[in-house]
Subunit: 408 residues, 2 copies
């Protein structure tokens, strides 16, 4: 099963060598054995013991780690294309809500869907993600907002992990919004999360997330949910500072959240707190595109030393995309990262945001999750937006996408 | 060879019915015969004489006219990824020029390429365009800037038209920039265009275009080139008001140009002149993305009644994309058109900009150039950016892309 992937014009290892953030090796080869990377280096330095292995020729193309998409909501039913069109025609949020739009329409559709329907719809999305080079994806619950549907969503995420080549990381997001049936009893909903949802959902999740923002959950409510999650063994992550400046970033630093996501309205002082807490900033540039809002301050966060991940936020309301290539392009063209920083944030940054330190780079011992671009350099991803340049994808050393017919 | 394409959830005909710009027919069928559309309407109204025909089932998806990409420079050699990366890292234009970047690096590479090399590189681009739903594309010369290479480029465009399913419309753009060897003799270069290039290039072209802008050609030079082109039977189109406000839009109205392209700095008064001259505005939203400049005023032009087309501007310097879906998404999300206006501009608008009145719509007698989206509505194109939703493409009634396996 071992083989050499050779004739790589540019290999992005993400094993950084100053000043080269991406740790690029030119004219490189990678030895893959037992699903893992066994050796990495210039092809001319390939040790003699590997020279008899089967050779797969990358044809002078670029190879990079598979994308790690660290923030998605890609298990849901229905779509909100009508709401999207109304918004772009200038209708107000109130008119859209009156027409049945908004997150509650997705909650209603998801509650009404069977596990199999959710599984099939999400499989199609994971298929597109894989075709686009994503090899690991975080998926949140949060369109159930009742015990049964939150649990069912997490069961679907687990089934996807078992049956689809893309690895999934499950996050419990019962605290996405307060559902209408608890509109006048917010405390009652938080209590339902604590005593009703967490006992049955936590065994299927790795993280507990809260949408802590204007119109969602307050800082105090979020703290309470995250503390309850921790009692069930779930580490915290947080949606913060997207719609307004409500103190969520400070909470993320206070509780040592693994990640703080969105951050459109974060201040420099809060950024420093996040950095000092070891929290990763997960930025979502495709949301700004779809919502026609300013990009989050990626440049400021990067320059202050906060580790940055970028992700799709794949969801039917505010960012319906599966494409990490689009996210990389937007991060470089509209959010102010350099192409290299954007590539790093979409691979290594995503892995760190999911506490998967063996992912998102190409070093001996790492799983061989690799993308072969049909281009000579990873710069082509933002340089050529709108084109899926992913020519082949290896997941744990197996070709799961091979449009280039490299295995012939 | 005749067949019925049926079970179409949403058919965009572009045969407008107020207030429906796109002339949408729900639950529609299209009869295709001899490469052309024979009948269009609600499937339940299908006339008896067509009911025995072979049925191709669109599976409840949306169908729209193939995209007409009315402005590209997609015959070129080399790429400028390094220049792109330098620009995004903050280097100045002067530093980039000093490092060998800018349009002259593409001119040098194109002059050094054989016709076959240019043909092969452009074929790969047309393949990607076709996969993305483009069925007709305008292509300009202009990376030769000498007689032999301008002629060779137009020969390649003709060969592409003969050998590739995508139809090409050839435009002579000898007046793209003044090449360095004429830096001190601009008049000499214009004369070379008039007496050297046009006699050998005009027989291979349909239009004469000039880049009339700051740093390119003046209004007087542009007028002279366009007049010469007209003597050789080429109608005028113009690149104007992209880099500055230099009077090109007024010239376009004055000479009755078929199209005025870019228009970033056009004024309302000039827009009215263009409208009254019957000139189409060809807008290029992917240029603004790649160059990180404001979008052209698409909303203003549309509201003043100027017919709008949107196009990729596919070129290696300022907009290296083949994706009309990305252009539609940007037009709606960043340039201010509604989703419906963006779809119209990418199909019917493009056809009008190329004086191909039988393209860009789905009416009896039109060529059956059709896209089957893997989605129930054309709104999904801007709603789901970064994903190629094109599931099948028919060119003159033949399935040239069929990822959905509709013909099984």
């Amino acid at each position: 099963m071992a083989f050499v992937l050779g004739d790589i014009r540019e290999l992005v290892t993400n094993a950084p060598t100053r000043p080269d953030l991406l740790g690029v090796v030119s004219d490189a080869a990678v030895v893959v054995q037992g699903g893992n990377v066994e050796w990495v280096g210039p092809e001319e330095d390939l040790p003699a013991r590997f020279r008899g292995l089967r050779k797969v020729d990358a044809g002078g193309r670029a190879v990079l780690p598979g994308f790690v998409d660290a923030h998605t909501h890609c298990v849901f039913a229905g779509d909100r294309a009508d709401e999207f069109a109304r918004r772009l025609r200038g209708e107000s949020y109130e008119e859209i809500l009156a027409a049945g739009g908004g997150i509650m329409s997705t909650v209603a559709a998801t509650r009404g869907a069977t596990g199999m329907e959710l599984f099939n719809a999400a499989t199609a999305r994971l298929d597109r993600m894989l075709q686009g080079g994503t090899t690991t994806v975080e998926i949140k619950s949060g369109y159930g907002l009742d015990i049964a549907t939150e649990r069912r969503t997490l069961e679907v995420i687990r089934a996807l992990d078992e049956r689809h080549p893309v690895d999934t990381v499950p996050t419990f997001l019962g605290a996405h919004v307060v559902p209408p049936e608890f509109r006048d009893d917010r405390d009652g909903y938080v209590e339902l999360i604590e005593v009703g949802m967490l006992p049955v959902c936590a065994p299927l999740a790795r993280y507990c997330d809260v949408f802590c923002d204007d119109g969602a959950f307050t800082v105090d409510e979020a703290r309470r949910v995250l503390e309850a999650g921790r009692r069930y063994g779930l580490k915290p992550r947080l949606h913060v500072e997207q719609l307004g400046h409500s103190g969520g970033a400070a909470l993320a630093a206070e509780v040592g959240a693994v990640s703080a996501d969105h951050l459109d309205h974060v201040t420099e002082e809060e950024a420093i707190r996040l950095r000092d807490a070891g929290t990763i900033a997960v930025l979502l540039p495709a949301v700004a595109l779809s919502m026609r809002t300013p990009q989050p301050p990626g440049r400021m966060l990067w320059d202050l030393g906060v580790p940055v991940a970028i992700a799709t936020d794949c969801n039917p309301g505010t960012s319906y995309t599966e494409s990490m290539s689009l996210v990389v392009a937007l991060a470089a063209l509209e959010m102010g990262l350099t192409p290299e920083e954007a590539i790093w944030s979409a691979t290594r940054g995503g892995a760190l945001a999911l506490e998967l330190p063996d992912r998102g780079w190409v070093v001996p011992g790492a799983p061989a999750d690799l993308v072969v671009l049909d281009a000579p350099s990873s710069v082509h991803i933002p340089y050529r937006p709108g084109t899926n340049l992913v020519g082949a994808v290896l997941k744990r050393g197996a070709f799961v996408v091979d449009r280039l017919n490299l295995q012939r």
